[in-house]
Symmetry: C2
Subunit: 222 residues, 2 copies
DNA sequence: CGATGGAATTTTGAATTCATAATAACTTTG
DNA sequence: CAAAGTTATTATGAATTCAAAATTCCATCG
């Protein structure tokens, strides 16, 4: 594994720790072995500890006084709460986007929507999710609200490790696509209130939560 | 000034730095003098630097590589963006609160509301704002969504140093109180959607932004 | 007199060191 | 053999040290 290059070291280290968590090498609740990670990353304890403190403030890690850092346990409630929050943020993003977005911006999102529909028709789940995410990110970006985008991506990061997209009943999927149809229409009409409401209530996230149920339980048992 | 007691040192230091910023001793854009603060707090550079990194991730401070930390400049746009965000969060809190809050909880908030009205009638601005804040915090707490509360207080902290409540035209004030009347009604009817909408559009914050305009400009010129 | 170049100083970034708290290992004893 | 107490080991928290970068200060030159 390549050594880290020395610039903004603590942030670099934090990102590497996040990778380890996302890839499951550090599981929920695991103690984070300071010395070992230092050796592995080729850095001293100082930047690693700085990284851990930042990750703690971002809600990814838990610091127990005199007992080191652990990967924060995600309970089902925490994930639900986080998705509620993300919904609210997306709702705001939608409202703002309708005020701010350019016609080209709308065209781009409509284009993404078209591609998403193709993947839906072909039942290409992974591709569908990828484009789906691009649409949501596009709306976030169009809001032109940096703080909003920052918070959203922070929340998104928190729950990334339990994101789950396998089980997707036809019915849920169909309804998610319907939501997206409405979103596009609201966006083209620049009806911010409508778009905001759709996004806040968009069932995609709630669906994920439902599917996630047993996954989290599994991890907590482990 | 009393020395800091040594437990969770970096968080303690961070709070002290926040105090300095809030009290204006460290102004917007100011360089943060590492060595000096260390002496003042009676700690070494390590915990101070950890604190600064955390504050940077919380958006209060800016870290320039090899050039130290500065108090992050607040532009008017950033403050507006932040208030939009806070509105969205309060909106969500309102919706959730309607589902979660106990009858006693509602009674408490109604009580606060009554006291706020008294202060309004007596034109006691400071008292009014204090109780007003308690109401909003009460709704946040009733949402039972920890992530939401955490995020809200973080945002609130970011803009605390420019909070401004002097100019309050009678007309704005009257409308703010009207909003609150509606809020109480929505809460008592447990009409989450309505309460959410009121909170999202509650003009209190927008009012502050308007009043804040020249204040921020002043600071940026300095 | 102002601009440019180059030491001297200060500040920052990161590793190392040191003291203390927590954990593990090992006795001892009932 | 198990439980409790004690010692040894390890991990953590924070100060210190060291190298590199930036800034300041001063001298030189145009």
């Amino acid at each position: 594994m390549s050594k880290i290059q020395h610039r903004n070291l603590y942030r670099e280290v934090a990102d590497r720790v996040l990778d380890l968590i996302e890839q499951g090498e550090l599981a929920s609740g695991d103690r984070i072995p300071e010395r070992e990670l230092c050796e592995r990353f080729g850095v001293s304890r100082t930047p690693l500890r700085e990284a851990l403190k930042v990750l703690a403030s971002e809600g990814v890690v838990e610091l127990l006084p005199n007992r080191g850092a652990r990967v924060r346990q995600l309970t089902l409630k925490m994930v639900k709460d986080t998705y509620d929050l993300m919904g609210a943020l997306e709702g705001l993003a939608g409202e703002l986007a309708c005020q701010q977005i350019s016609d080209e911006g709308i065209a781009e999102i409509r284009d993404l929507h078209g591609r998403m529909l193709d993947h839906y028709r072909n039942r290409e789940l992974a591709e569908y999710f990828r484009v789906n995410r691009q649409i949501h990110e596009g709306i976030l970006a169009a809001s032109q609200n940096e703080a909003l985008q920052e918070m959203y991506s922070n929340l998104s990061q928190r729950v990334k490790r339990v994101r789950y997209s396998k089980q997707m009943t036809d019915d849920f999927w169909r309804r998610a696509v319907e939501d997206h149809e409405a979103m596009i229409e609201a966006l083209e009409q620049r009806d911010g209130r409508w778009l905001g409401q759709i996004l806040r209530e968009h069932l995609c996230n709630k669906l994920e939560v439902a599917a996630m149920d047993e996954v989290i339980d599994d991890r907590q048992r482990a």
